[in-house]
């Protein structure tokens, strides 16, 4: 089976993520999927903006009462850096150095997990302040958008982890290289969404 053929640095193709037809299909199909995800998040952003600060009465906290800069900044840094580390992983994938790729992916996963941890911590704070999913339309919209993104992060973590585990024993080949590549695309996309979340939800929320 050529897809599982062992390669050397010399024989490893320049664009392993697109070297076979299956890989090309996967690559393109995933981009299309991201196009659809854009609309999905667009709808959630739209809903959030329409329902921002819409609460039943004044006892409910509003955006400007809730969001705190240090936490958001830290979370942003975790995610941005994890984007860079996954770029490093793909760099090593292209150079056919499997161990280094795995290492960088591990760092990526670790950073992603830190981000998630922060998010959980943050949500718990909000719940204490009376800002829950069921407390107001604002709450529902906030948790739907940010939670959906968080869900994507969690899914990305599991995905990358399972790819790492599944292929730990057999190294890179043309069958799994596209999978790693696509997973990293997904990771970047999550980052893109976060850039808008920290801008539109948090920063704009703090501005009022």
């Amino acid at each position: 089976m050529q897809a599982e053929e062992k390669f050397t640095e010399m024989t490893w193709p320049a664009s392993p993520e697109k070297a076979t037809l299956e890989a090309k299909n996967k690559f393109l199909g995933f981009w299309f999927f991201l196009g659809g995800e854009t609309v999905l998040f667009g709808s959630l952003f739209a809903t959030y903006l329409a329902l921002k600060d819409k609460v039943p009465d004044s006892s409910h906290p509003l955006a400007k009462d809730l969001f705190e800069m240090p936490l958001t900044f830290l979370a942003t840094m975790f995610l941005l850096v994890s984007s860079l580390t996954s770029v490093y992983a793909m760099y090593h994938m292209k150079n056919y150095s499997f161990q280094r790729m795995q290492a960088w992916l591990l760092i990526t996963v670790f950073l992603g997990a830190c981000f998630l941890g922060l998010e959980v911590y943050e949500f718990r704070n909000y719940v204490h302040e009376g800002h829950t999913f069921t407390s107001s339309a604002f709450g529902s919209a906030f948790y739907a958008l940010v939670g959906f993104h968080g869900g994507h992060v969690a899914f990305g973590l599991l995905w990358i982890l399972s790819l790492m585990l599944r292929n730990a024993g057999r190294g890179l080949n043309l069958y799994n290289a596209p999978k790693f590549y696509v997973a990293s695309l997904y990771w970047h996309f999550i980052d893109v969404v976060w850039v808008f979340i920290f801008t539109v939800v948090y920063l704009m929320g703090m501005v009022g």
Partner: protein, 622 residues
């Protein structure tokens, strides 16, 4: 691995279809499932028409009527029309572009089973406390107010089948971009392939809005969300926007493949190349694009204000231009041609005036100030049945007759086919033409009955009689199918004699690998070109070699089935049923384990060896 088809037992055939990843078999699955749902939706339509035949009728009760109405619309759109379109896309697109399968055969099967289980789930509602009853649009204020679980079935059922549709759309996009045979450039693709491409793109961008809308509604109804709860700051117009951002493109998702099918049929039976091919492609893309700019024309009366109404009105009208381009191109395809009036051609020809009548009432609806009168009246019902039945359903019936030989290797009876056609066409106009006037005379839609002496009695009676013509037509078509399959007379590669595109260059039904050697495409209508040069078939673009094929798999069924089970758990957890949570966990478990197996177990497919292909040649000759 021998490729020679063997006679199989019934059980083996069923197992074969349950595990198939072959686009041609998936096409048959879509055709059967979509067909059954069409019968269900049609039966519901008949109940609607019986109830409305006379004033103050009590054939069904008010609550039941709303359920029937909702299920009619939902079933027809999501479970009949779309899957039937997917049936023809699966049957024809890979063949038309000279591919051996779609880009992701496994995903293709998964898409079907998700749709199927979603549809079954939705229909389970009939037996579990009542079907959804808030209209196919499920406006949020009414759905939040609905007491029964019907709406929950709608939410979860559509969510499951919607995922199936979405991945199906992505699959076709990739297939068309990446899998075209050598020489099959974009501007040589048959128009059905083009329209499938644009339709898939519309699916990709429209369905996420529905997904989000359904999620929000699910959270509101089942998990205490407040998106649409006005007293907690929510807003129900959000649902309306999300629904129509999906819903308007959806109607073009339905009609574009219909346009594609008719383009093939007009060209074939006029023995002429499609007139204005490039402007047809352009118009298709333009309709797709404009389709995303006009959704708020369903919301003129909501109170968006005159500026928004005016913008959306004018944007909507613009769609008449590309659609007109198509209509005239079809007329001029026939102009100077040699028109053979086969059954598919009957449908194609009847489609033109029927659809134009529906399209122009669409433009009338777009006149925002006047739409305040038409909206939610039978005028709108007439409009959309004219475009849907006069466009989409006629195309599906035409496609069934046209592609039957390619899918099954037998030819439906032309005599019965034409009887079906005439009954259906007459019934269709009888049913819906008069509804324009009912609407203008003040009859609102979605009423389960009406009082006498409002001037609507005759019109409704006529309309109901028409529906029964359609019912008889459909039954005759079923008879046609049974008779044809029992007779089982086999046909050759090009049973219509005038085939133009690649699918007619290979046997009917094609071998499971489609093309022994990928064909070389030398222009638009490649098979026609070869025929005109006196050749029997296509020139191969590659030497005979091993063919790589995907493995069959049962996992698509289990993944979908898991979601089906989980949906019951989610739905009944609201009632604090003790078994709900376990059921949900078990269902999701089935799905996740199946997905895990899929991702951990490498699936490299298998090869058909060159020698076997050669042997088969000899076997056929011997």
């Amino acid at each position: 691995m021998s490729t020679i088809a063997q006679k199989k037992g019934f059980g083996a055939t069923v197992w074969d279809y349950l595990t198939t990843v072959d686009h041609k078999k998936i096409a048959i699955l879509y055709l059967m499932a979509g067909g059954i749902f069409f019968l269900a939706g049609g039966l519901e339509a008949l109940f609607i028409r019986i109830q409305l035949a006379v004033p103050n009728n009590d054939f069904v009760s008010a609550g039941l009527y709303n359920q029937i109405l909702t299920m009619h619309g939902t079933t027809m759109i999501f479970l009949a029309a779309m899957p039937l379109i997917f049936a023809f896309m699966n049957a024809a697109v890979p063949l038309q572009i000279g591919a051996r399968d779609v880009a992701f055969p496994f995903v293709n099967a998964l898409g079907f089973w998700l749709f199927f289980f979603g549809g079954i789930f939705l229909n389970c509602s009939w037996f579990l406390g009542g079907a959804p009853d808030a209209g196919w649009t499920s406006y949020a204020s009414l759905t939040l107010n609905a007491k029964s679980h019907g709406v929950d079935f709608y939410i979860l059922g559509l969510q499951i089948s919607g995922i199936g549709t979405l991945i199906g759309g992505i699959n076709f996009l990739v297939t068309i971009v990446n899998m075209r045979a050598p020489g099959m450039t974009y501007m040589r693709m048959p128009l059905f392939t083009w329209s499938s491409f644009v339709t898939s793109a519309l699916i990709l961008f429209a369905f996420p809005a529905l997904t989000v809308g359904l999620f929000l509604l699910m959270f509101d109804r089942m998990f205490g969300g407040n998106f649409f709860d006005v007293s907690a700051g929510g807003n129900t117009i959000i649902w309306e926007h999300l629904f129509w951002i999906f819903g308007h493109p959806e109607v073009y998702i339905l009609i574009l493949p219909a346009f594609g099918l008719f383009s093939e049929i007009f060209a074939t039976f006029s023995r002429k190349r499609l007139f204005g091919y490039s402007s047809m492609v352009f118009a298709t893309v333009l309709i797709g694009f404009l389709g995303f700019m006009v959704w708020a024309h369903h919301m003129f009366t909501v109170g968006m204000g005159p500026i928004a109404n005016a913008i959306f009105a004018v944007a909507t009208m613009a769609i008449a231009v590309p659609t007109g381009i198509k209509i005239f191109n079809w007329l001029f395809t026939m102009w100077g041609g040699s028109i053979k009036f086969t059954t598919p051609m009957h449908y194609a020809v009847a489609f033109i005036p029927s659809f134009v009548a529906g399209g122009v009432t669409g433009i009338m609806n777009a006149v925002a100030a006047a739409d305040y009168q038409y909206h939610d009246s039978y005028f709108v019902v007439a409009h959309f049945h004219y475009v849907i039945v006069g466009g989409v359903v006629l195309a599906l019936l035409a496609g069934t007759h046209y592609y039957w030989p390619k899918m099954f290797g037998t030819m439906l009876s032309e005599v019965l086919g034409k009887i079906t056609f005439w009954l259906f066409l007459i019934g269709f106009h009888l049913t819906f033409f008069i509804q324009h006037f009912l609407g203008l005379m003040g009859m609102p839609r979605r009423v389960f009955t009406y009082l006498p002496n409002q001037g609507w009695d005759t019109g409704n009676m006529v309309s109901s009689i028409g529906a029964f013509f359609m019912g008889i037509a459909v039954i005759i078509m079923l008879i046609n199918v049974v008779v044809t399959q029992v007779k089982g007379v086999k046909v050759g590669n090009d049973p219509w004699g005038d085939g133009r595109s690649l699918e007619w260059s290979i046997p009917s039904p094609p071998p499971f690998y489609n093309f022994k050697q990928l064909p070389l495409v030398r222009g638009l209508d490649p098979f026609w070109i070869e025929k005109m040069e006196g050749k029997k078939g296509m020139t191969p673009a590659e030497p005979l070699g091993d063919i790589h094929m995907p493995n069959a798999s049962f996992l698509p069924v289990t993944i979908s089935f898991g979601l089906f089970v989980a949906a019951f758990g989610i739905l009944f957890h609201v009632d604090d049923k003790p078994w709900a949570l376990p059921v949900m966990i078990i269902g999701l478990g089935i799905t996740l384990v199946s997905m895990l197996i899929r991702s951990v177990k490498d699936d490299h497919g298998f090869h058909i060896h060159k020698e076997d292909l050669e042997n088969e040649d000899k076997g056929v000759k011997a």
